[in-house]
Structures are given as C-alpha cells and as structure tokens.
Point group: C2
Chain length 136, copies 2
DNA sequence: CAGCATCCATGACGATACTG
DNA sequence: CAGTATCGTCATGGATGCTG
C-alpha cells in the first residue's frame, strides 16, 4: 500500500500532464539517472571520491576489480554529467586529480543512504534468497 | 554513515582490512545491491509497487518499454530477494498480485530520495553535458 | 602516471511463439 | 491472465598492448 498517500492516483487514463517527471515514461530524463547509477562502476567511484579527492591510480587501487578502461570511461562520463571534477597539473609526468562537484555531492547523499541500507540489510536479503531457493 | 573519517592512509597501498561491508571490496555483498539496482527494471518495478499492489499486466502497462520476459524475470528476482510479495488467487484464469515487503519498503525510501534528486536536478546534469560537449 | 585503441567473450535484453 | 521457452542482437566490459 501507499505509505503516505501523497501520490495522485496514477491508475487513471493517459494524463499527458507532465508532472514533475514520470519515471515510468520511457522518455523521462530520469531514466538517464537510472542508467548512470545502473552501470557497474559509477556509484563506487562517486562514493570513493566522496571520501576525498583522488588520483587515477589511487582510484584504481581502491576499487576491487575495475579495469583501467572502465575507470577512464566512467570518470569521463561522470565529468560530463557535472558530477566529478578533473584537474590536471602540468608536472612531469602529468598529475590528474579527481573530486566531486557540489552536484555530485547532492547525489551522494542519496547514494549513501542506499548503500547504508545495503550494508545493514543485505544479510536479510541473503537469507530470503536461501529460503526461496530451498522452497523451489 | 559508514565513513569514520579515519581511512587507512589513502596514498599508501598495502592491506585494506575488510571492515564490515566495504563496498569497494569486490566480494562485499553490498555489490549485489548495486547489481540489483543496476539492472534496467528493478527500481522502476519497486517504485511502482510502492504506490500500491498491482497485477502482472498492470505493471506491464504502466512501465514504458518493458518486455514481459523481463518483467517476469525481474519480479522473480525481487521476490527471491525478499523485496516483493507474490500472491496467487486460484481463480480462472489465475490472478496474481504483487506488492512490496517491509524490507522492500525500506529500500524504497532510499530509492525515492535518489529519484527525487533526479527529477529536480537532471536538468542541471543535462546542461553540464551540453557544456562539456561544446568544450570538446 | 594517466590514459587511448583494439579485440573479443559474455550475457542482458527484446521479439516472437506457445501454454495452463 | 500470467506466464514459459527459444532465439538472435547488441552493448557492456575485461584483457592486452601502446603512448605522451
């Protein structure tokens, strides 16, 4: 059931009235966020940078299992989205530092809540999976 | 939050002692949550069921672009994870109703925060993308 | 150090057809 | 109505080698 009842009854016919973005519409830009969060590494990178600025190989070391192709690719996407910053110092060899933008910081708040839930409740999920598999 | 501010010296390599739930460890169960959230439809289905119980074809109609294979598959996963309930009434033809479990409801809280952010800030992201593309 | 380019395997996903 | 079964695709992402 609805937990707070604040949602307008959506079961009715086709409202073209674009409320604040209908996630269920395939063309809603919000779907992009899901794609972003959906890819394998974005959330992890964001989370890590949330702890403090970091360099390329630093990130690579901290994130278990990421290939450097994906790290590079994901960082570029995040930078393009305005979620992370990229600063190049013209040393030799070059030094590149990544960080989170204020926008990225906002998103991080939500992300951390999600991860927090996971860290405390994934045990319950695992148990449920076990029960399910036994039943089948 | 999980951050205590005293992370093992970031510049150093060496041992990252797997504290309780290190998301960055590839073996951390928390990664499973990211996989789940990562797939294309789980979040959408959860969000929709958060509005109220719903039947199979009801869900299919509401979610733009989902195939019935993926709907079926994702619902089974969510049920296995203990996030979604599935009730069968032995009518003819059979009637199946889906809903969220308390556990799923907890997760929904975090998810909604994320979607909320997206609905209000995706415009900023889009703008950043534009700027980035122009710059390159 | 911080990447880019290329090749290739896997599997996620969609389309279609059929069932209790 | 609520699915299962099968097949084909295409993108994701890992491995490897090269560069400034």
């Amino acid at each position: 059931m609805t937990q707070d009842g604040t949602l307008p009854s959506p079961g009715h016919l086709g409202e073209t009235a674009p409320r604040r973005g209908d996630v269920f519409d395939r063309d809603c830009p919000t779907r992009q966020l899901l794609d972003r969060v959906g890819d394998k590494w974005s959330v992890l990178i964001l989370l890590l940078l949330g702890e403090g600025d970091m360099r390329f190989n630093g990130l690579k070391r901290r994130i278990g299992g990421i290939s450097q192709k994906m790290l590079s690719q994901t960082l570029r996407s995040l930078e393009r989205d305005g979620l992370v910053t990229r600063e190049v110092e013209p040393t030799v060899p070059v030094t590149v530092t990544y960080g989170v933008t204020p926008l990225g910081c906002e998103l991080l708040t939500a992300l951390r809540l999600m991860i927090d839930w996971a860290e405390t409740r994934m045990a319950a999920v695992a148990e449920s999976q076990g029960a399910y598999d036994r039943r089948v």
